[in-house]
């Protein structure tokens, strides 16, 4: 330990008569440090105190906090403590599931948790899994997801999950314990400045040091997480606040909003802007609606369809917008962006008007902004004013909730006869036939008996009647799922779009299955992502959560390998990924596993997994070097798609 050297250094300094900077007030001069041992010359021994600032109230508080940390027992008398206030507040907010992992400073919560049967506690196997589960729960149910971890490593393990929720605007309340207030800032055991860490990656965060503040803070946290543009709110509570007796009452909704004067999201689209937008729509010859996650969050899919049908404008969607329109709807045109359908990107590049609702012109959607939609004027509606004009310059900005904006637009626009768009529709249909036909399911490899990933996700969609909740991991599997599974129901597709978090699928599916128990839940992941969070298999078993897991195993980090092939001259460093026998692994956890290596086994395995009462896993050993096409190379534009392997 380096501490030893530091101490030696200090001693040397003292010998040279240099006062160390860290000397505290009550300490005797350096010379006395080598005083004779107690009792040697008959004088009463002078007992030294090593407590900094001994005798002060602050020192006493620190001593007490240390003692409490070491000798942690429940008081004999059961009174209402901060932890009770927390549980009551969660129940009041309608939380019914808590994804959590215990630890020292949140033991006061675990001590009383049994008294609150209204909250189902899911003991995850890693806090990251808990955060992703809360995320999946929120996306599948539309409610706020709740996860919890202890101080220090428990809290830092939550961070990846919180960041994932932040970039995808998912309502989440993440709770952590912290060391007793008197020890905050002392680098105590398992102490880290977690609010400092989550500050730039949450919608808001709190450090609660007083039990009386818990009801207010939890009410505010839920309000902030779920109103306006949703997002994660982190609440860090010191252990002594959890243990202290409190009589604090839960605030009314009015009191909560009154206490947040800086949080007044603008939900109504401005009528003047809506009218301007309606004029733009009336003048456009090749308009296209770009719909994003905001439409799903606002539950505005009916309003979206109404606008599209009244104006006869086709709808394209972002990755996180998948599911906002039945893909079989005649005006549903498809998924846009880097790995989107070529016909959709062509339509964007030739459009004269883009009506963007609840999306943010992410770089995966636009590619090079300079060459993006060169003929289009842009109407951009978003609930977050900061998104408008951030990535692309727009002609008509509208700030408001997607539902209100779509209703308003539908009110102001004139109905259009489909015949007026005959020429435009014919062009779109031609592009679509060409794009879908030329790359039928990306590879067509299935026709020659190869087990390709696109075929698998297509069969999963088909055999679940497109009614399940499909949770993607990140990478090629995510893109195949998005392109070929076919989605018909809102919230049926869950994907880490913004942060691109590998390891997301299994834990998020765990949460999604609990958030929406009415639909089957499938986690579709690659062998890389699965191995990042596979410990949650045990949670699935222990809590009987019926997630069906499809591991698309190409023994590769597929997307990395694809980039290395296309852009790094085939230098395949570290993209080959040996994995375990996934069926044996599943078996070790008690999860029924199935292995498929040929196309003719796919349907049977899917049906077998569906028949299992509880979680099941299918190990698909796919071809190793399948690419996702088309792909837009980094830094290029939507017109620069590569839609097949480069010629030899």
């Amino acid at each position: 330990m380096s501490g030893g050297n530091a101490t030696a250094g200090l001693r040397q300094n003292r010998q040279r008569g240099i006062e160390p900077m860290t000397m505290t007030k009550g300490e005797p001069p350096a010379g006395q440090a080598s005083a004779a041992p107690p009792g040697e010359d008959g004088e009463a021994p002078h007992r030294r105190s090593h407590v900094p600032g001994d005798g002060t109230a602050a020192a006493a508080a620190i001593e007490k906090a240390r003692r409490d940390m070491l000798h942690d027992v429940r008081g004999k008398k059961r009174t209402r403590i901060g932890a009770d206030a927390l549980m009551e507040a969660l129940l009041l907010q309608g939380a019914d599931t808590l994804f959590s992992y215990p630890g020292g400073v949140i033991l006061p919560i675990y001590d009383i948790l049994g008294d609150y049967p209204g909250i189902r506690h899911i003991l995850v196997r890693h806090e990251q899994g808990g955060a992703h589960a809360a995320d999946g729960y929120a996306r599948a149910s539309g409610k706020v997801g709740v996860c919890m971890g202890t101080s220090g490593p428990g809290a830092t393990n939550l961070v990846t999950g919180i960041a994932t929720a932040q970039l995808d605007s998912v309502p989440m309340v993440a709770i952590t314990g912290n060391v007793p207030g008197a020890l905050v800032g002392k680098d105590a055991f398992q102490e880290i400045d977690i609010t400092g860490i989550t500050l730039p990656m949450t919608k808001h965060n709190y450090l609660v040091r007083n039990a009386d503040d818990i009801p207010r803070v939890i009410a505010e946290a839920f309000y902030i997480a779920s109103h306006g543009r949703p997002g994660p709110v982190h609440v860090d509570i010191t252990k002594d606040a959890l243990q202290a007796e409190t009589a604090a009452e839960h605030p009314s909704l009015d009191a909560v909003t009154a206490g947040l004067p800086g949080f007044r999201p603008n939900l109504e689209g401005h009528p003047k802007q809506l009218k301007t937008a309606a004029k733009e729509i009336a003048a456009a010859k090749r308009p296209l609606i770009l719909a994003g996650h905001g439409v799903l969050i606002a539950e505005a899919w009916n309003e979206l369809r109404a606008l599209a049908e009244k104006t006869q404008i086709p709808v394209a969607w972002t990755l996180l917008g998948i599911g906002l329109m039945d893909e079989d709807h005649p005006l549903a045109y498809g998924y846009m962006g880097m790995h989107g359908w070529k016909h959709v990107n062509r339509a964007i590049q030739s459009a004269d008007l883009l009506i963007a609702i609840g999306m943010r012109f992410d770089d995966r959607v636009t590619g090079s902004v300079r060459t993006y939609a060169p003929y289009a004027r842009i109407i951009h509606a978003d609930i977050d004013p900061a998104e408008i004009g951030k990535n692309v310059a727009v002609e008509v900005p509208i700030v408001g909730d997607a539902k209100n904006v779509l209703e308003g637009l539908t009110h102001f626009v004139k109905a259009v006869d489909p015949a007026e768009r005959a020429e435009y529709f014919a062009q779109l249909a031609e592009w679509r036939t060409e794009s879908e036909g030329s790359s039928w399911h990306g590879s067509g490899g299935w026709q020659s008996g190869q087990l390709t990933a696109d075929y698998i996700v297509e069969r999963i969609g088909e055999l679940t009647n497109h009614e399940a909740t499909y949770v993607a991991d990140v990478g090629q599997n995510q893109m195949w799922l998005a392109r070929y599974t076919k989605f018909k129901r809102p919230h049926s597709h869950i994907s880490s779009g913004g942060l691109g978090t590998m390891g997301f699928a299994v834990p998020a599916a765990m949460g999604a299955a609990l958030g929406n128990p009415h639909n089957e839940t499938w986690a579709v992941c690659g062998d890389g992502g699965f191995q990042m969070t596979s410990q949650e298999l045990m949670t699935l078993v222990a809590d009987r959560i019926p997630v069906k897991i499809a591991v698309l195993d190409n023994h590769k980090l597929g997307m990395i390998r694809q980039w290395q092939e296309l852009f790094y001259a085939g230098n395949y460093h570290s993209s080959h990924l040996p994995g375990p026998d996934f069926v044996k692994l599943a078996d070790a956890y008690g999860v029924p596993g199935f292995k498929v290596s040929t196309t003719d086994g796919v349907d049977d395995a899917i049906r077998a997994a569906q028949a299992v009462d509880g979680p099941a896993l299918i190990w698909f050993e796919t071809v190793e070097e399948q690419n996702v096409f088309p792909i837009m190379p980094a830094g290029k534009g939507l017109s620069d798609l590569i839609d097949g392997a480069p010629e030899e």
């Binding site: 609010t195 400092g196 500050l199 730039p200 919608k203 808001h204 450090l207 902030i224 947040l260 004067p261 800086g262 949080f263 090749r286 070529k342 990107n345 062509r346 590049q349 030739s350 902004v369 300079r370 060459t371 993006y372 939609a373 060169p374 003929y375 977050d384 004013p385 900061a386 004009g389 951030k390 990535n391 692309v392 310059a393 062009q427 939507l638 017109s639 620069d640 798609l641 590569i642 839609d643």
Partner: protein, 190 residues
């Protein structure tokens, strides 16, 4: 391979990217809830979003629980507008106003320790007087100059004094207030 375009007859002009105008100095007045960490939130956001703060002055207002920040930064209109919008995303931020184009009183305080001996102290004092500053401390080898004015005025004074040798310099950063009866605070709807 490029997607051919149905209607293209000639290459379209490149789409404009937000924030490509000319950069200049902007002054933002930010009213915030006086809560722990609010300064950290503002500073962290500006850092994370790649906005460079030139100066930042923070103090309480006469309203309970409300603090006021005066923040100067360099950027073009669109970038600064984006900074303001991002600031609004902070729950503790109540109001952000770009007063760059407004009629304002702008003041900054500076303390400047300048080398000055019997030989040249008179010159230093004369310069300071011309800038309506004051000498607030004198020793055999130095004086402390207290100066106030706009950022540009203090810049000019500092440039002149640099010739004598500046031993130490501290500036508060700009503070501003709108001229006339209008009030940014009173416009708050709490």
């Amino acid at each position: 391979m490029s997607a051919d375009d149905a209607t293209a007859t000639q290459a379209p002009p490149p789409r404009s990217i937000p924030g490509t105008g000319t950069a200049g100095r902007h002054i933002l007045v930010v009213l915030v809830m006086d809560r722990p960490g609010v300064l950290n939130r503002v500073a962290s956001l500006m850092r994370a979003r790649n906005f460079n703060i030139d100066s930042l002055a923070v103090s309480r207002t006469d309203k309970e629980n409300i603090s006021r920040m005066t923040l100067t930064l360099h950027g073009d209109d669109v970038a600064v507008e984006q900074a303001a919008k991002q600031l609004y995303r902070l729950i503790d931020v109540l109001k952000v106003q770009d007063v760059t184009e407004d009629q304002v009183v702008e003041h900054e305080l500076a303390l400047i320790k300048v080398r000055a001996t019997d030989a040249n102290r008179g010159e230093v004092i004369k310069i300071v007087e011309m800038y309506k500053g004051a000498i607030v401390d004198i020793s055999a080898e130095s004086v402390i100059v207290e100066a106030h004015g706009t950022e540009a005025e203090i810049d000019a004074l500092v440039a002149l004094l640099r010739g004598y040798g500046i031993k130490e310099l501290v500036r508060t950063g700009a503070t501003v207030m709108l001229r006339g009866a209008g009030s940014i605070e009173e416009a708050l709807k709490l």
